[in-house]
């Protein structure tokens, strides 16, 4: 825009005037952001708006005026100042590349994030909550209680192992593939079963650990197309992201000493044993996640959210997640 510079100068004047007024009304010289020569200040401010509208400095200058304006005791005057403050803020937002205008959003992640309530929804979407956790953080207790509260299915490693063991057992005992398919149809009546059978065979020859992982991945992907559920671990967040299936990924952890205390109580362990076991389990989790995803386990950049369960406890963690995904406890 040609008149952009002029516009900035006008805004700078308004900011300067607002500051002066707020200064007089709040009776504080420290509230005054600009002291000294008026023209120099306006010119500097205009340059700041023009050249670095997205910078922290401009925002801080303005925030300081707003903070002081809120302390004005006379209600009418305060309201008048806040109105002008808000109008100036809006004007600044109109400037191309103003602060807040360069977003941090990763469109792909945001599109897949079901706790981002403004994303475009599809009728095929399901409520899928992936929970990673450090051992002893009560992550599985939170996941199970959340599934119960939301009345959706809960899957953890033991359940997956049972399901896969049985699929394997059934498969071995049935020579006729179609027959096996029918059996599978009964288990998970709504899934793309036929394809999964060929997948299920596809991984033969791989090390058992890898075959289990890939079979689990396929199971998670297929389930995610058909039902709401909570899944504990299994790198489900990455599997779903790679398959472009919406979900929310949460990591639950707690300070080491709290986890140790809880492990001692739950498993009747001595302090030293609990520390040792916890470190070993953390290492195992870490290796598993890092190996199959190439990401760093427990690093906040790899999840939508991380919750410190020691700051909430089991019950409040469940309610916090319910609020985040906009499913409120019935008591609300």
């Amino acid at each position: 825009m040609e008149n952009n510079h002029e516009k900035c100068l006008e805004l700078a004047k308004r900011i300067y005037d607002l500051d002066t007024n707020v200064y007089q009304l709040s009776g504080s010289s420290l509230g005054r952001t600009f002291s000294g020569d008026k023209d120099t200040h306006i010119s500097n401010l205009a340059t700041l708006i023009y050249t670095r509208p997205q910078g922290h400095l401009l925002r801080s200058e303005i925030a300081l005026i707003g903070n002081m304006a809120r302390t004005i005791r006379n209600k009418t005057e305060r309201s008048r100042m806040m109105t002008e403050y808000n109008e100036i803020l809006k004007e600044i937002e109109q400037i191309p590349a103003s602060f807040g205008s360069v977003d941090i959003v990763d469109e792909q992640l945001a599109t897949l994030n079901i706790s981002n309530l403004h994303r475009e929804k599809s009728p095929d979407d399901h409520l899928i909550i992936c929970i990673g956790r450090t051992h002893g953080s009560a992550g599985t207790d939170i996941g199970f209680a959340l599934a119960d509260a939301l009345k959706i299915n809960y899957y953890d490693v033991e359940i997956f192992n049972q399901v896969l063991d049985r699929l394997e057992a059934e498969k071995d005992s049935i020579s006729d593939r179609e027959n096996f398919a029918t059996k599978l149809d009964q288990v998970l009546p709504d899934t793309h079963v036929k394809r999964r059978i060929s997948d299920f065979s596809r991984y033969h020859g791989l090390p058992k650990k890898d075959a289990v992982f890939f079979n689990q991945s396929d199971l998670i992907r297929d389930m995610a197309k058909k039902e709401d559920f909570i899944v504990m671990g299994r790198c489900a967040d990455v599997i779903l992201t790679n398959n472009r299936i919406p979900h929310i990924s949460i990591f639950i952890t707690a300070p080491f000493h709290q986890r140790v205390r809880r492990m001692m109580e739950v498993n009747h362990l001595e302090f030293k044993e609990a520390c040792k076991l916890l470190k070993k389990l953390d290492r195992q989790h870490e290796r598993y996640y890092n190996f199959y995803t190439g990401r760093k386990w427990g690093d906040a950049v790899n999840y939508d959210l991380c919750i410190n369960s020691a700051c909430y406890g089991i019950k409040e963690s469940v309610e916090l997640i319910e609020r985040m995904i906009d499913k409120y406890p019935t008591s609300h």
Copy 2:
């Protein structure tokens, strides 16, 4: 309880029967958790309930039955099975040391956590939101927009520096301490100003960096007794925890490549420059936080919550935090 073992046996029978019924109704042999000899299974299950009620295995066994029960197509039968399932769950919850009964909560942290809505509130509580962030994650943009949405004050490093510089300047120009106190009273009319003045002098002699930190800390502590606000960084979370002042501590971050992309755009930098600058700023932040708190910056165990802003963007991050602290956008 003397009849505890008997109670467990009875529960084991009910679980076994529920499993059998769900098996028949869902028409899937894979849904059946227990196959083989009935008495052995019931006995094993009773032992599991008796000895390890808090263990994952029991929960997984039960969850699997619940998952299958939800697939029963006949609505009346499904509802009947789910009722029995829920009753069994309740019975298990009654068992001392049942799963979920050993909480992870840290009473002190939970008491100070204002996003824990069930904590006991005090009329002195203020809405104080401490936001730590990695550079380029739009953390400050989120903080500023959140302050604007909640109509509360916003403080960041520039504002603190300005306030402290002016306090220092005023102090130097005023020989009479009482006079200075009056001035200060005007700035922050509601704070325990007199004490702060002596604090303000107390740190003379310390390295400037430390004096600034301690003065900031005192300012944050005093403000926190008097007003609602958002504070960016400054180790405010730890300062408030140490002073037992309720707040919520949030860490905002985003994947490195996203932060680089944003830094390039905001600051008109080349890729290499942005990477270098970001790494340098991260190191500075880390050193500052670790030095003054003895904790690890950005580690999820040191905050109530961590948010990956790339999964939300600025606007949705603000709304997510509003939901978490139970302050809903007016549009809701």
